[in-house]
Symmetry: C2
Subunit: 340 residues, 2 copies
């Protein structure tokens, strides 16, 4: 038998290969693989479905992530996918694989975080599966959301001349992770090591306790903005821009001087001698919303407090480029986080 | 901090503790934790949700389970939960954690099985998440089903004097597992060892390629039988009877001579010197349907080809008993499979 290493395809390549030729046969299945959520026709409303698998040693490191924060974040990353379709999350299921080193009290802490996220976002925990695991903690969460038929925003709706917007700021969660890893290394083997996080609270919180941008969706609705395409930024701005470009068959220009970056992110990048724009473009785990808006809604976009204009949609043959401060054009490539 | 080993609570105890006090706040959430599926109000129809986590080294052993069979079974166990609510499965999401020893071809085999189950049962694969894992294969599947509001059958609806029925036969999957493990041990270290499975095909198939009992649901509908409670048998008849007893607040009497057992199961138990009734009561992984029917539908139950009468529902204070061939009464205790 031929043996192809999974790393040669990467996550998206593997998914494309595996799901090739899977046809949806139920009339109620409106959208399958390939967006932030699947979409199911359930009468008056559409049901949105998304799922995330979080694995110890791959997605999180319990030496510096408190279990309560992990539970909160595990829920939030799913909710973010539902908001990215312009939907409202309603229910989650939580499946856990738990190795012998975890006690009931550990898992209760994890659930405190899960519960806090459910409370914060008004979501119901409706089921799950719990099992022993051979090694490490496994968290699999599925979220159901709902949306009116005409409200759903896919990745595929961006059109030439649309405006490209992003919420919040980028790169902070990634720099928070760098800080946590630096302090872990500094403290390795030392018994009473106290990491120094003063003045870094924002980037830490972005890494440890991200929020789903429900407020952005609320502001969009309030202003009457109707995004043509939307995606949440989990793998980095570059990767998500390319998803929209591919699925909408468009090109894009974004402007370096428009990319929102917090000053703590900038200071941390400086200190670690890392390229700030690279961190913002490819860092991942921002859970901000990237969306496109028709040009005629330009004035409404300018009024937004939670998001800003960072570029524009072009014809596909013009490619995908970052325009730097000195007007150089750098092609955007996916350097998104690849777990393989 | 207090440290309580999870094994002291077991799976159900842990779930009870963790989900205690979680209240459902969305009007659309009709049923949360505690049945085969959660139930969501989505307009005309109800949406059913169920999820299962399958872990290498805990739920399956790839030394004797082909990946294609594993993929098929991983889907079927979820569909079984939807049928157990008298619903129709429609969509699944599949999340995979994959360690380095797996190639693209391995995962393609797994997906062949997933696809075969989707084809067989008319279910759509609509999403998922794929990631590297540190060790072993992780499969997390969530299934959405639909049902008319009045068709849904919960675990809680059994009433005194109802008849207790079970489909197919019991204990075969468990004896198939025993056979596979015996042959694995016999072949350990031998290069060209050929296990001898002649005349054992049925119990092997029950272990490796179980089916969800869609045909039982079809026959129930055809005959006009309306079950009052239903559950699928994943952890063994004893465990599932006690779930219905607890949630319906009833007692039960089932009769040893009525428990359906295939002759291959009986021969294997004899050969391995195991108690046949124990295997049938506690074996697990049967994926048969256990259901209760009002007494007045007795004649309809007698006409069923896919299921048979095994006992009757009593008042709760009469307890839960197995009546043996020599009329002894043995209290039914959950010896269900416990992954902790």
């Amino acid at each position: 038998m031929q043996e192809t290493e999974i790393a040669t395809l990467g996550e998206f390549g593997l998914i494309d290969k595996l799901t090739e030729g899977f046809e949806c046969r139920n009339a109620s299945t409106l959208r399958g693989v390939g967006d932030d959520c699947a979409v199911v026709d359930t009468g008056d409303l559409r049901t949105l479905i998304t799922t995330d698998l979080l694995l110890e040693g791959i997605h999180f490191d319990l030496t510096y992530v408190p279990l309560k924060h992990l539970g909160y974040k595990a829920v939030v990353v799913n909710l973010s996918d539902v908001y990215a379709m312009n939907g409202t999350p309603r229910q989650i299921t939580v499946s856990l694989g738990i190795s012998k080193r975890f006690t009931v009290e550990h898992i209760a802490q994890l659930y405190q975080g899960i519960r806090a996220a459910c409370d914060e976002y008004g979501v119901d925990l409706v089921g799950g599966d719990t099992s022993a695991s051979v090694t490490g903690l496994i968290i699999s969460i599925t979220c159901l959301g709902e949306a009116e038929k005409d409200d759903i925003v896919y990745r595929s709706g961006a059109r030439d001349t649309d405006l490209i917007c992003v919420s919040g700021d980028l790169g902070a969660a990634y720099m928070g992770l760098q800080l946590l890893e630096r302090e872990r290394e500094a403290g390795a083997g030392q018994k009473d090591f106290q990491p120094d996080f003063a003045g870094r609270e924002y980037i830490l919180e972005r890494q440890l306790k991200p929020e789903a941008r429900r407020d952005v969706i609320a502001e969009i609705r309030l202003l009457g903005i109707k995004p043509t395409a939307m995606i949440d930024i989990s793998d980095g701005l570059s990767s998500e821009l390319l998803h929209i470009a591919k699925q909408s068959n468009i090109g894009c220009r974004i402007y370096e001087d428009r990319i929102p970056i917090d000053y703590q992110t900038a200071i941390m990048a400086e200190e670690l001698n890392m390229n700030l724009v690279t961190a913002a473009m490819n860092g991942g785990e921002d859970y901000e919303l990237l969306f496109t808006v028709p040009l005629h809604q330009h004035e409404l976009v300018e009024q937004m407090k939670t998001a800003r204009l960072i570029g524009r949609v072009t014809k596909p043959e013009l490619g995908n480029f970052l325009v730097t401060r000195d007007n150089a054009e750098i092609e955007i490539r996916a350097q998104g986080w690849n777990a393989f």
